[in-house]
Symmetry: C2
Subunit: 450 residues, 2 copies
């Protein structure tokens, strides 16, 4: 594993950090965070936090007490012990790309298939630079939705001997992943002693943890499997457009999710997640690899260290569709800060944000974990799954119009119901109260000191 012994670049002055600290404390107290799962609401209420409908108003000191229970560093075991991974400290773990619905071969871009998935898994196995075989290395669109996560997990378990990422599309999928990992590693006790998976839990920014993410989080955290609690923020869409305000929101979201994890199982391993970029303010398109993203990345590293948590961020991000000059400089614009910030977990090497000229294209821009869907026309039942607001903040928020409720072809009616509940709320956007109230501090924010 790569040991990052370079000094960290601390971009924030003490004043700036104090301002961010005051910001998240105000936001988490006065605006609160939505948790779309009754068990989460009950846990917070039982711990003495104020709960109104789905919104929890948290005492910042209570949050920090919970955060302090999370380990600063931990290990993940691989089928081949030589490939065990350490998360935290100077350790930098690199994983295969996560979530592309499409595969490009030469000039042709097409839906990813399970054969593609298996080949990407084999590639991840063969590159010594990759510490994790990844999770959704591409979306295997030709496999049935109900058992797709089983196919993917089995492929990752058998075609590689590296650590792999857990499926998070639902609580059922998470439970299945845990069950399969328990089989592979000799029982649930063994993976609870040393985790065998790591999973991305994305916040539905601004300020909402959605039902399917929370279902998955409950499963993984109960089993002591690490979760990467990741605000997915495209500034200007899911947060105010200024970096300081977006950072305040990011801290609020990440810490609230981490606090929940420690209520579920004190001491459970977590990673402070971040996916921070911005939209093009003229077109509304997501843009990756921007200077704002690079600066946000450096700030995030310092913030995670401030809270004593391992953190995930960065990678080689770009808004370009092809490996051209723009792709090169944008990728380095985020890759270099990834190292300077000392990110502990990084799960994409070169990731492109598609220009959303068609709605169906936008799934290429969505964050993990995204199941492809189409809102632009009839979709075949084996590809159609509910709109991604519940699991993919990037896509639906960038598109500000509410999405039609689509019946799901699968058999798990409870998920269909919970999706509908989420979808009804999908009109909530940056202009809504909670987001607009985030202080923007565009000019007041103190300059970094020298």
């Amino acid at each position: 594993m790569f040991e990052n012994r370079m000094p960290r670049y601390d971009i924030l002055s003490e004043d700036a950090m104090a301002k961010l600290d005051a910001g998240w404390r105000r936001l988490i107290t006065e605006i609160g965070v939505e948790f779309m799962d009754q068990r989460a609401l009950d846990l917070f209420a039982k711990a003495g936090q104020k709960v109104e409908d789905n919104t929890v108003f948290l005492d910042p000191d209570f949050v920090l007490e919970q955060v302090a229970k999370a380990p600063a560093e931990f290990d993940i075991q691989a089928r081949n012990p030589a490939n065990n991974v350490h998360i935290g400290g100077n350790s930098m773990a690199f994983g295969a790309v996560y979530g592309p619905p499409f595969v490009r071969e030469g000039e042709v871009r097409r839906d990813g298939t399970f054969d593609d998935f298996k080949n990407f898994a084999r590639l991840a196995q063969s590159f010594a630079a990759l510490d994790s075989a990844g999770g959704v290395v591409c979306e295997p669109n030709d496999t049935p939705l109900d058992s797709r996560h089983l196919d993917m997990t089995y492929a990752l378990q058998t075609l590689t001997d590296k650590i792999y990422m857990g499926n998070v599309v639902s609580g059922v999928n998470a439970a299945d992943t845990i069950a399969m990992s328990s089989i592979l590693f000799g029982g649930r006790d063994n993976i609870e002693a040393t985790p065998a998976t790591i999973s991305l839990i994305n916040c539905n920014s601004p300020l909402r943890w959605d039902d399917r993410m929370l279902e998955a989080q409950f499963e993984y955290t109960s089993a002591a499997q690490p979760v990467v609690l990741t605000p997915f923020i495209l500034m200007g869409a899911m947060s105010p457009v200024t970096i300081p305000a977006a950072l305040v929101q990011q801290i609020t979201e990440a810490l609230s999710g981490i606090a929940l994890s420690q209520l579920i199982r004190p001491g459970a391993p977590v990673v402070f997640g971040s996916f921070l970029s911005n939209i093009d303010m003229q077109s509304g398109s997501p843009t990756f690899g921007t200077p704002e993203s690079g600066i946000g990345l450096l700030c995030t590293g310092q913030i995670a260290r401030h809270f004593g948590l391992p953190f995930r961020t960065g990678g080689g991000l770009t808004s370009s569709q092809v490996p051209d000059g723009q792709a090169g400089y944008e990728a380095l614009m985020t890759m270099m800060p990834t190292f300077l910030a000392g990110a502990n977990w990084r799960s994409m090497t070169l990731r492109s944000a598609s220009t959303p000229t068609r709605r169906s294209d936008m799934v290429a821009t969505s964050s993990v974990p995204c199941t492809p869907w189409s809102a632009s026309g009839p979709a075949s039942t084996d590809r159609c799954c509910p709109p991604v607001r519940t699991t993919s903040a990037g896509t639906a928020t960038a598109a500000s119009t509410p999405q039609p409720v689509r019946a799901r072809s699968g058999s798990r009616s409870s998920r269909t119901t919970s999706n509908r509940r989420s979808i009804r709320r999908s009109t909530r956007s940056c202009a809504s109260t909670s987001c607009a109230d985030v202080p923007s501090w565009g000019t007041e924010f103190p300059e970094p000191s020298n």
Copy 2:
């Protein structure tokens, strides 16, 4: 002007800095530095330094006494006072590209012309991001060599109202530039009070300051015009291939040149220069935009601050011939450290190292100040000038074979003579005593601390 208020990235630990400090002290004392100008040798001897032939063995503490006389910050006046430039501190000055012999229009690469030169000067004038109109923005190959510097300086003075760089091909050219600047700025007294030019003086690495560079330095420094004393090092060719050893050599060269400047005129403005990259160890080709270059750049910034000097380095460098993905990531690989290191003077935006498949191509890779020449066949007299070893360390050293002495078509016989003297010594390469003796510290070099 851009005020760089970001924190500096200090990559070197105290131990590492101490090791570099011990290194240059040993090198400058035991191996010494060659100065190919009798006046320089006389000044050092008069100041009590040991001189043998052209080599000066310097007392490190004496060197630091001289370095301490140089100002940490200074101003350069422009024809339009709104375009005056401050060098040093948080100020970052950006100049147009320097030295390309060729111009590319679409798919066609051709010799630069004076019309091109004038257009590039107009472009430099029109871009607010550029603080300096540059010097040799391209080589105007269609102008007579004897008066070319006059044409260039006049164009820079009249087509732009920004600061411009001085010609350094010879002492005569430097004196002409000073005379023209005195006319423009109302007399030599005025430009001695506040300089009106800034000029690149390249070291002929390893460890030699050549005659024409020194002639120019004497002119400019006597007139209190700032000079950028720049070791031009491609690691593996002009220095050992390890970064620490190259840094030791770079410090030795830069400080020896700066010490000379303070003997010529105490308090004269100088800039700690750096051009640090490496060669491809398989082909011997110069490579720009490498990770080693980025790391060297960060180290150089910290070293210059250590000595209290403004410094020049960086830019968007690449080994690619076209603006492709490689050009993008290599340019950022050096551009981002340029900002993190807080470079005060930067005179190239996107600079390519040509692959030297033909000798005549190599002029494209040579450092400033380079007058194009051809060694591969008959050259017309108005293009032919002596081989560039005396003024362009990069080209001739990368080619390890000695160059034929070519008679110069110009009328200044003294320069032809001095060139011949240099050329006779051009076989001195990395394998020679002085370079091989630089400690390499490949494994001993302390890791940067966190």
